[in-house]
């Protein structure tokens, strides 16, 4: 069976339906099966349905995603309580160490993302990885800065990514590689993205899993949890109503 690929961080300008459609078409042409786009919290269910409609036209599966950028752990907890059941993927952009720690240990967080441009704000370390490995959160790495940065800032980023990928591997923490693309020309094929990860020494099988198995597993797990039939991990309602006999 052919492997399915996913890009969980496609960032079209949502105010432009045409650009969104073009980017979805491109994702489909490049070989993706599932995409996710960060949505504003003000987005209504109608907006989400419209995006799902566009993705269906382009033969793609669409997952709703929320990027949280809290200043304090308390703010993160507040947002998680408020939005967890409304979005299929919750990513936390960690801009402080306390937020990074809270995000890593909270099982409601799916993705940990760190700012690419400031190496001092990359708080991913062994303690973070240990916490995240227990809570099933994955480390998300965007490819956009890797192809747009030049010179010393790119060198610093590659060095940080090499260290982080090695820590994540040691603690068996899943890695998700996303495009972070804001335009069509910044989108790449899944295997091109996997090749780019060789720049920070991610081995090929891990790299391919990071654009296929790992992101798809997150979406599958969350869809199951958000389903009305979900009771607890491994337990779900399989039948209800008049055909269900009471003993």
């Amino acid at each position: 069976m052919r492997r399915a690929f996913a890009d969980l961080h496609l960032m079209p300008d949502l105010s432009s339906v045409e650009q969104t459609r073009q980017m979805f078409l491109k994702a489909s042409a490049l070989g993706y099966r599932l995409i996710a786009t960060p949505l504003p919290t003000s987005f209504s269910e109608n907006h989400i349905q419209r995006l799902r409609g566009i993705s269906q036209e382009t033969a793609l599966d669409f997952a709703s995603r929320l990027d949280l950028k809290p200043k304090t752990p308390k703010e993160l907890l507040y947002h998680l309580r408020k939005f967890r059941r409304k979005f299929e993927i919750i990513a936390v952009i960690c801009e402080s160490k306390t937020v990074a720690r809270q995000a890593a240990k909270d099982h409601r967080v799916d993705l940990l993302n760190f700012p690419a441009l400031d190496p001092h704000k990359r708080f991913f370390d062994k303690a973070e990885a240990e916490l995240a490995s227990k809570s099933l959160a994955a480390l998300e790495i965007d490819i956009k800065p890797l192809i747009t940065l030049k010179g010393s800032s790119k060198i610093r980023l590659l060095s940080a990514l090499r260290r982080e990928a090695s820590i994540a591997k040691d603690f068996h923490m899943p890695i998700v590689i996303s495009s972070g693309a804001t335009t069509e020309l910044l989108m790449r094929k899944p295997l091109e993205i996997a090749a780019l990860t060789s720049l920070f020494d991610l081995d090929r099988s891990m790299a391919v899993d990071a654009v296929s198995k790992n992101p798809l597993a997150i979406v599958k797990r969350n869809r199951e949890k958000l389903s009305p039939n979900f009771i607890a991990p491994g337990i779900r309602l399989i039948r209800r109503g008049s055909d269900c006999h009471e003993s």
């Binding site: 192809i147 069509e184 091109e192």
Partner: protein, 108 residues
């Protein structure tokens, strides 16, 4: 010992047209930026076919360096200071098999 090679079919994604020299300059400079002169000396990069109209190219590389070439090609964001991206369509061990694969997929 015979050096194994890989042939890569590439598609240039841009609104502009470029000639073969401009295209290869972009590929070489992307490779040099990522892997330096030592890495570039091992890649065995050569342009086999180029169609400016169809924005299509075939390059040949040493087979051990294929991933590096894929990464270098993926890191191209402009050619001659004009926005562009380059995608790998197919990879094959022989030119004949590559052309067969491209014809079968019907993609240029």
């Amino acid at each position: 010992m015979k050096v194994k090679r890989r042939y890569l079919a590439l598609k240039i994604d841009s609104t502009e047209k470029f000639d073969s020299r401009e295209f290869m300059d972009a590929v070489w400079s992307a490779f040099l930026r990522l892997y330096g002169e030592y890495g570039a000396s091992r890649v065995g990069l050569a342009l086999i076919d180029y169609d400016a109209e169809k924005k299509f190219a075939i390059i040949r590389v040493t087979h051990t360096e294929t991933t590096k070439v894929r990464a270098a090609v993926a890191s191209i964001t402009e050619i001659m200071a004009k926005p562009a991206a380059v995608h790998v369509l197919k990879v094959s061990g022989t030119l004949r098999a590559l052309r067969k694969k491209i014809n079968a997929s019907g993609r240029f």
